[in-house]
């Protein structure tokens, strides 16, 4: 079991309240996922040549005492890169004005235990072990701002409880996916992708779905085409919620084994595994509440 939540604000005035509205959604899914939690928030994009990289130091020896300012200094010294760093305990967002690959390569080489959570112009990603309340407080989720976000509470079934196996998963840039369910062919998908040069970081089944869909997008499929190929290739139980810089997308397997409910008003679209996580939202009594059908694509644009 796991919980998924998503929120996209249509009314720009709510962008500053994105985190505040979402935290009770995430905490509402604690019973479905008490062991880890995470979210990806999409903000206004950086300039064309800039990238932000979300980093996690919880697996390093220093943990939350990691020397983030030192990291920025090292990048300047060794790569000549001007990097801005916004640290928050064991998490930091590194912003650079160049293509991110050399920076990530350097980090992996010199700080192999520093986990790269996400890369992009719009995405910030946070995930860690702990209850949704603990993780929300750890990263001050209630003050997050942006247009939309994708969140997850985890009750591990397919791989161990570790921060890197928590959701959301990302691949490429500005793409993330959360999953409630369990895939039955993740190793088949993996064996198909690995010879194409796609590298995996964990043994988690969701990572296979995430890398598969991102691969399709990178090969030129639009989101709808990629999701259609997902229906054809991914076997098992799933409700997937995905985020791109301007979209939220939801699909459920043909058996609809894992739940989802959507509430939509003129101001927002909110998605959760159960209505419990939507009950506090503004004007929810007048929202259009519906259950998304199996094997259908639901895509909302920010």
């Amino acid at each position: 079991m796991c919980g998924i939540v998503g929120l996209l604000v249509k009314n720009p005035a709510l962008k500053s309240r994105l985190g505040e509205l979402m935290v009770p959604m995430l905490i509402g899914m604690t019973e479905r996922g008490p062991d880890s939690a995470g979210l990806a928030v999409f903000t206004d994009p950086l300039a064309e040549g800039e990238r932000k990289i979300s980093l996690y130091s919880g697996l390093t020896e220093e943990g939350e005492d990691f020397n983030w300012l030192g990291l920025a200094h090292e990048l300047k010294q060794h790569l000549g890169v001007e990097a801005r760093i916004a640290p928050q305990g064991n998490h930091a967002i590194l912003t650079v004005g160049i293509a991110p690959e050399p920076v990530k390569r350097w980090i992996k080489e010199h700080h192999p235990k520093l986990h790269i959570l996400s890369t992009g112009r719009a995405i910030d990603l946070y995930k860690d072990i702990g209850t949704p309340t603990e993780v929300s407080n750890r990263y001050d989720f209630k003050h997050l701002t942006g247009t939309h976000l994708v969140g997850h509470t985890r009750m591990a079934t397919e791989s161990a409880v570790t921060p890197d196996r928590a959701h959301p998963f990302t691949a490429g840039e500005d793409f993330c996916l959360v999953h409630n369910g369990s895939l039955s062919n993740p190793y088949g998908v993996r064996r198909m992708l690995e010879p194409r040069g796609i590298k995996f970081e964990t043994d988690n089944d969701t990572e296979a779905a995430c890398r598969f869909l991102e691969w399709r997008l990178r090969e030129g499929d639009d989101l709808e085409t990629a999701l259609q190929k997902g229906f054809e290739e991914l076997d098992g139980f799933y409700t997937f919620l995905m985020g791109t810089p301007d979209k939220l997308a939801l699909i459920r397997d043909p058996f609809a084994c894992k739940p989802a409910v959507v509430a939509e008003t003129d101001d927002y679209v909110a998605i959760a595994s159960e209505f419990r996580s939507l009950a506090h939202l503004p004007d929810i009594k007048n929202a259009k509440v519906f259950e998304p059908a199996p094997e259908e694509m639901y895509v909302w644009t920010a």
């Binding site: 043909p254 058996f255 609809a256 739940p259 409910v261 159960e274 209505f275 419990r276 996580s277 939507l278 009950a279 506090h280 009594k285 509440v289 519906f290 259950e291 059908a293 199996p294």
Partner: protein, 229 residues
């Protein structure tokens, strides 16, 4: 004591259910309203006396489950397994119902004004289900007894491995499950549909419904079937 109101933002659901199980039957409680259900699971489960319960809002999983004698109304939607294993009485969902509505029901009447999700009436053992909208795939899977009236469409594999339950569908059937077949409507069928629609407060012409029942070809093992059903 005739009527009682509970607000779930002020009182824990467990206390309300406890009251409905233990004290209410002896106190002559006739009507209970439950406000702000906010998707809580197990609202008004296991009731065992004739009481009217109105849940104002959206219910979570298993609302009205195992009901006996009570009449439970949910004004919003209901989550997975509404009225599952109901023995008697009535459960009425005014919005939509999620998966497994009326699963394993033994008796009583389940009315869903909106759509029902997948596996509605799975393993039905008795009682009646009337759905104003459509039902999802695998509905009435292995249904053994009882009746279902579906005013909208049915998804894939309707009535797969049916036993003696009978289904009536007004709209399109995406596909029938193994051993389910469409049969002619007899006079008794027309009366059944008319009575059930009346009980559910729905207005349709019984002549517009198709009867789906078991061909009974799976009742006995057929060694020559070569696993092709």
């Amino acid at each position: 004591m005739d009527g009682l109101n509970f607000d779930l933002t002020e009182i824990p659901l467990r206390t309300v259910n406890d009251f409905l199980h233990k004290e209410a039957p002896g106190q002559g409680v006739k009507k209970v309203t439950i406000a702000n259900p906010d998707g809580a699971h197990n609202i008004a489960v296991g009731l065992d006396f004739a009481v009217e319960v109105e849940v104002i809002g959206h219910a979570g999983y298993y609302a009205g489950g195992m009901n006996k004698a009570a009449s439970i109304t949910v004004t919003g939607s209901a989550g997975t397994g509404v009225a599952e294993n109901m023995m008697s009485g009535r459960v009425h969902v005014k919005g939509f119902a999620s998966n497994g509505a009326g699963a394993s029901m033994h008796g009583g009447l389940l009315v869903i004004d909106g759509d029902a999700g997948l596996r509605c009436g799975i393993s039905l053992k008795g009682g009646d289900i009337v759905v104003g909208g459509s039902v999802g795939s695998f509905s009435a899977f292995m249904a053994q007894a009882g009746r279902m009236v579906i005013c909208g469409d049915a998804g894939d594999a309707l009535g797969d491995s049916l036993y003696e339950a009978v289904l009536y569908v007004k709209g399109k059937i995406k596909s029938l499950g193994a051993d389910a077949q469409i049969e002619p409507m007899g006079e008794a069928d027309l009366k059944t549909v008319k009575d059930l629609l009346a009980a559910a407060g729905m207005n349709h012409d019984p002549k517009d419904f198709k009867r789906v029942a078991s061909a009974r070809s799976l009742y006995h093992w057929n060694a020559d079937a070569n696993q092709e059903y």
